[in-house]
């Protein structure tokens, strides 16, 4: 079974709303930077930064974080997953960083991202923005900005497709036969 969660317009609106919430909460709050978790969080981060820039009128630095080397299941995998470059072209120390990912699920990716950020410097604060929160956390992690809360079964597959990597914008849920 398959169902649509967000269409292109839904994604656009969610990202725009998150941007406004970020600005609201971080008014007069220091240097704002956006860091996306590769690969789809990276695309969303770029979109978010663009809107933030339009709202605030000042440039918002964007970076991309690859968390592969910080995964907690590396020693349990059959083959080493491919590592992509981390590209954060600014000093994270003293920044207010918005970490962006497409789907928040177990929270393990976000845990890895926070460890990776800590190795790059000492941000003033880190907040988390996700397009979809599908629940089933395995770690004490809570998003600050959510595009859509989506109740799911643990076996369900939530797929985010973005124009930059997949040719179209949509979020779909695929229920797996138990």
């Amino acid at each position: 079974m398959k169902g649509s969660v967000l269409d292109a317009e839904g994604i656009r609106k969610s990202v725009a709303r998150i941007a406004h919430e970020i600005v609201e909460r971080n008014r007069n709050n220091g240097r704002l930077c956006v860091v996306g978790i590769r690969t789809r969080g990276d695309h969303l981060a770029r979109r978010l930064a663009k809107i933030l820039q339009e709202i605030t009128g000042s440039p918002v630095p964007v970076g991309a974080l690859d968390i592969t080397l910080y995964r907690d299941d590396l020693s349990r995998l059959e083959a080493s997953p491919v590592v992509h470059a981390t590209e954060i072209p600014f000093d994270v120390s003293g920044c207010r960083i918005i970490v962006v990912d497409d789907v928040l699920f177990t929270g393990r990716t976000v845990r890895a991202a926070m460890d990776a950020l800590a190795d790059l410097g000492r941000p003033e604060a880190v907040e988390l923005a996700v397009l979809v929160d599908r629940g089933h956390r395995e770690l004490p992690i809570k998003p600050d900005y959510v595009g859509k809360n989506l109740p799911t079964a643990k076996e369900d597959l939530v797929q985010v497709r973005l124009t930059e990597s997949d040719g179209l914008d949509e979020v779909v849920i695929e229920a797996r036969a138990a």
Binding site: L69, V82, V83, D119, L120
Partner: protein, 324 residues
């Protein structure tokens, strides 16, 4: 994207172009780690890497050691003179003993061709060949590929000259395998006694005149004359070698202005490279050293992920093993 499935990295000969691409692409991702203030990632936390250098080496060992440390692995270091090899233990026995201490990756250098492959067949842990006799030195070959691509933007279609003692050079062999697979045109150059004509069969052009070889070349890799191996038997004199095959400014004048000069180190200054070339603007020798760490991080990361659940040939009992 292909995944890495090999337990070991023994040479570039057996790798596909896709595997070479994967190694280079992973090295690219790892290069950034060494530019951070905190030069460490937790990828190999809890793993142990044994550095077993049964032949003298400073730079390769240091490079592997830093690569392993920047991946958070623990390191065990063996060197020829202080190990039981001098007491007559076979290399395979040594390797099995190291493995029995639950080591995950064994980095091995040995002066005999084929030792790394023989050891890899006899142990379950991953083996990375850090140079075996005159056979292969895969990570140096990868460093050269990586550095060429970094400086030139590509490898395919480039003219690469390797000059010097091709006969004894494992770097030349790894370079030749890697470069030809990636689509470069390779010319081997040196005195006839040191350039085996049979290597034409591996897809290289042979030249005995450096000036001629350098015409139209994009890259020249000078090899070290291994003075400790008494190579004067192969050449009339070092002075003649330098006159004919040493790279100096005069010889470079006729080459392309954007030719890059490489050397696996350590350089015999004034012998294969004149000091003004070794330190000149065309030299990328220190970039090779820097890139060595990223390339070795990629190699250690990929092999240590692949060895789990991978079937290994059972060790065959051999009465004498492989002697050091």
């Amino acid at each position: 994207m292909t995944h890495w499935t090999r337990k070991d990295l023994l040479g570039l000969e057996e790798l596909t172009k896709e595997e070479l691409e994967l190694l280079l692409q992973q090295a690219e991702a790892f290069k950034e780690v060494s530019l951070r203030p905190i030069k460490k990632v937790p990828a190999l936390r809890g793993r142990t890497v044994a550095l077993c250098f049964l032949e003298p080496s400073t730079r390769t060992r240091a490079s592997f050691e830093l690569a392993a440390k920047r991946l958070s692995a623990d390191i065990l270091s063996f060197q020829g003179a202080s190990s039981s090899i001098v007491k007559g233990e076979s290399v395979l026995d040594t390797a099995r003993n190291i493995e029995a201490m639950r080591v995950d990756v064994l980095v091995l250098r040995h002066n005999t061709s084929g030792v790394a492959a023989a050891v890899a067949r006899g142990v379950r842990c991953s083996v990375v060949n850090a140079g075996d006799g005159s056979h292969e030195h895969p990570t140096q070959g990868l460093v050269d590929l990586y550095t060429i691509r970094e400086k030139k933007g590509r490898i395919e279609g480039l003219n690469v000259v390797i000059v010097g003692d091709i006969l004894h050079s494992r770097v030349a062999r790894s370079d030749l395998w890697g470069l030809t697979k990636m689509g470069a045109k390779v010319t081997l150059c040196g005195p006839p006694t040191l350039v085996p004509i049979v290597m034409e069969n591996l897809g290289a052009r042979i030249s005995y005149r450096l000036e001629e070889a350098l015409e139209g070349a994009d890259v020249v890799i000078a090899l070290r004359l291994q003075l400790e191996r008494q190579q004067e038997q192969y050449i009339p004199s070092f002075r003649e070698y330098t006159r004919l095959y040493g790279i100096d400014r005069a010889k470079l004048e006729r080459a392309k202005p954007d030719l890059i000069v490489m050397h696996p180190g350590p350089v015999n200054r004034g012998l294969e490279l004149s000091p003004e070339v070794a330190d000149g603007p065309q030299s990328v020798i220190l970039d090779q050293v820097t890139n060595g760490i990223a390339v070795r991080m990629a190699a250690l990361y990929l092999v240590s992920g692949a060895h789990q659940g991978q079937a290994t040939e059972l060790p065959e009992p051999s009465p004498q093993g492989v002697r050091a």
